[in-house]
Symmetry: C2
Subunit: 372 residues, 2 copies
C-alpha cells in the first residue's frame, strides 16, 4: 500500500459516505486511485455529489490529517500491517438495507495496539435505555472477557455500551469504541472522560473522518464495523426494535457467534433479546464464561487456561487436519505464533496432529447438572 | 374393563409402589388379574414385599374405597372412558432412573371432567423457592392458558406450582393438581384451602391411594404424570438441580413440548431454566401466548381464535393428508368432534383437504420485528 493509495482512500472517504453500496460496486471495477480519477473528472455513473465534493475533499485532506494528529489518531487502510483483516469479511456479504462493504480505511485513536486487540475481540452491545440489571450484567460480562485477555468492542453509547467499556477497563483489558462520528468528536458529550480513558488504554476507531458529526444513518453503518471486528457479539438488553439487534444481524450475516443475555420477561428492555433466541438468531448466554465458551467453542473446563490467541487459532481448526502453513495463511499470521498457539492447545489436550497437520480433538462438554 | 379388573389394579397399587420398573416388566407378561394371583400365591420372581402385602391389601381395599368416597374421589383405570389416554404414552418410553411405566390407575377427586380437562392441558411447574418475579410470571402464564380454554396442570407445591393453580383459577379455567400423596392428604398443609378450591373447580389426582403420605421418591414418580398428562410443559423457575427439571426431562422423553421462562441471569432461581435452553432441552417462552403457540404450533395470528379442542386436532395433522377416521383413531375421539375441529381450523385457513384427507396448510409465521 503506497502513501498515495492511502491518501486516495482518505479523499474518497471525504466524498462518499461509508457503507454506500455504490462504493462497493465501484471498488469491484477499479482500484481506489482509478476511482478517484473518475470522481475528479466526473465520469459517467459517478454520483454527482461525489464529483461535486472532489475539489473540496482534496483541499480538506491536509486539515483533516492535522486534526487527526492533534488527537493522536492515525489513518489505517486495508493491506497495511495494522489493518484488522476481519473487516475484509464485509466485502463477502450482501449487506443490510442500503449499507454494505468493508471500509475504505479506519481512523484509529489511542494507545492500544490494533493488531493485538483485533486478535480475538468480543463485542458487548445493547440498549441505550438499559435497566440497572442490564448495566450490571454488561459490566460483569465485559470484565470477565477482558480478564481472559479479550478486547471488548462496543459503541460508546449511553446504557449498555458505556457499561461494557467500563467493565472491560475494570477487568484490566483493552476496549475499543467504534464511533458513528469522528474519533475526535466527544459523543455523547457526557462520555467525554470515558472516551479519553478508552483512548488511553484501548482504542477509539471510526471510518468517519475527524470532525464528522454523528448522524442517524451513521449508527447503522457503524454497527457493521462492531460486528465484523469481533469474533462474537453479545447483546445484553434490546427492546423489540433496537439498534443492537441490527449489530446482531450483521454478526449473523458475517458468521460471527451471536449471543444474547436473557432477562425478566416483564422487562421491555429484554424483549428483543428473548425474541432473538426464539427466532433462532442467537444463543442464550448467562455469563462471560458462556460468552467465551460459545464464541471460541472450547470445552468449558479448559477455557480459563487457554489464552485468547490460542482460542483464535482453535476457531480455525476442524475435524480435518490442516498444516501449520495453511492455518497461518488463513489467520494471516506467521507460522511461529500459530505454532506457539497449537502447542498451548496441545498442552490442554484439545488438539491432535498427524502427518497431515493439526485438528480438533473432540471431547464431550461435561456441564454439571442439566435436565439430561 | 370389568369391575373386578379395576379392583385388582387397585389392590396391586396397594402392594407395589407406582413407577416400579418390576410392575412394568410383569404387566408385559400377564394381565393385572393374573399378576395379582401370582402376588397372592407368592410366585417365583414376585418381590417378597408384594407377596407379604397381599393379604393386607385385600383387607384394606374396602377401607380405601370408603375413604375415597368420603372426599369424593373415584378410581379410574386404563380402558375406562374417563381414562386420559395420554398417560399410556408412559408405557412407550424407557423411564428415568428407577421410575417407569403408566400408572395402574388414578384417584380422581373433584368436580372437573377429566376427559374434557385432558383434551389439551398445559403444565406450569417450577421451584418451591420461587422469587416474586417467578410467582407473578407463573400466575400470568397460567391465567392466559386457562383463559384460552386450556387446563393447567401442576403439582400443588409451594412457590411456582401454587401460583400456577391460582393463576388458572383466576383465568377462569380448570386446573389439575397431581399429588405425590393421596388425594385426601392436604399437603403441604398450608395449601389445604387451595386444594379444596382446586377440587371444586378442577381436579386433584394421584396414583397413590388415599391416605398415602408424600415421600421423597414419590415426587419424582408423580412428575411423570404431570408431563404425560400435558401437551406442553413450561418451567418458570428452577435452580440448577430442581425437581421441575425432572418433569421437563419426562416431557422431553414423552415428546411433549418443553419450555422454560427466562429470568435475570443474576437469579439462582432461573439458573436451571437458562441451562435447559443452552442445552437445547427447552424452548424459551415469554408469555402464555408463546406457550400456546409453541405447544400447538399454530401461526401466532390465529392462535387466540382457535379453541383448545381444535388445537389438539391440529397437533396431529401433518404435511401428508390423513382421513378423518385415522385422525379420530389416533386421538381416540369420535369422528364428529374431530370433524367439528377440522371445520373450525378450516375457517382459519390453517388446514387444507383433498380426496385423501386433511393436512396442515403451511404458512409463514409473521412475527413483528426480530433481527431478520
Amino acid at each position: 500500500m503506497t502513501r498515495s493509495q492511502s491518501r486516495t482512500r482518505l479523499m474518497l472517504s471525504l466524498v462518499a459516505e461509508p457503507g454506500d453500496p455504490r462504493l462497493v460496486a465501484w471498488r469491484e471495477r477499479c482500484d481506489p486511485v482509478e476511482l478517484w480519477h473518475a470522481v475528479v473528472r466526473g465520469a459517467p455513473e459517478i454520483p454527482d455529489r461525489w464529483h461535486a465534493g472532489a475539489a473540496d475533499a482534496a483541499s480538506r485532506v491536509d486539515g483533516v490529517l492535522r486534526r487527526a494528529d492533534e488527537v493522536g489518531a492515525r489513518w489505517v487502510v486495508p493491506g497495511s500491517p495494522a489493518w484488522p483483516v476481519a473487516l475484509d469479511d464485509l466485502d463477502q456479504v450482501d449487506g443490510i438495507g442500503q449499507v454494505t462493504g468493508a471500509p475504505l480505511g479506519l481512523w484509529v485513536r489511542g494507545g492500544g495496539d490494533l493488531t493485538s486487540i483485533a486478535a480475538a475481540p468480543v463485542a458487548v452491545v445493547g440498549a441505550r435505555g438499559s435497566t440497572t440489571y442490564g448495566a450490571e450484567v454488561a459490566s460483569d460480562i465485559a470484565a470477565d472477557c477482558a480478564d481472559q485477555g479479550h478486547a471488548v468492542v462496543s459503541g460508546a453509547a449511553f446504557g449498555i455500551d458505556a457499561c461494557a467499556h467500563r467493565g472491560a477497563l475494570l477487568g484490566g483489558g483493552p476496549t475499543v469504541a467504534v464511533m458513528a462520528c469522528g474519533v475526535d468528536v466527544e459523543y455523547p458529550r457526557t462520555h467525554a472522560a470515558l472516551l479519553r480513558r478508552i483512548a488511553e488504554e484501548g482504542l477509539v476507531i471510526s471510518e468517519f473522518p475527524p470532525g464528522a458529526e454523528p448522524q442517524r444513518h451513521r449508527f447503522l453503518v457503524r454497527n457493521r464495523i462492531i460486528a465484523a471486528l469481533s469474533v462474537g457479539v453479545v447483546v445484553v438488553e434490546a427492546a423489540r426494535r433496537s439498534g443492537s439487534l441490527n449489530t446482531l444481524h450483521w454478526a449473523d450475516l458475517l458468521g460471527r457467534t451471536t449471543m444474547v443475555v436473557p432477562g425478566p420477561i416483564t422487562s421491555q428492555a429484554s424483549c428483543g433479546t428473548h425474541l432473538a433466541v426464539r427466532d433462532g438468531k442467537a444463543l442464550l448466554v448467562t455469563s462471560g464464561h458462556d460468552v467465551l465458551a460459545d464464541t471460541f467453542g472450547i470445552v468449558d473446563a479448559d477455557l480459563p487456561a487457554i489464552g485468547p490467541g490460542a482460542r483464535r487459532v482453535w476457531l480455525r481448526l476442524g475435524a480435518e487436519p490442516q498444516p501449520v502453513e495453511q492455518l497461518a495463511r488463513a489467520l494471516r499470521l506467521g507460522t511461529v505464533p500459530v505454532l506457539r498457539a497449537l502447542r498451548e492447545l496441545e498442552h490442554h489436550d484439545v488438539v491432535a496432529r498427524d502427518e497431515r497437520g493439526w485438528r480438533r480433538e473432540t471431547r464431550v462438554t461435561n456441564r454439571e447438572g442439566g435436565v439430561g
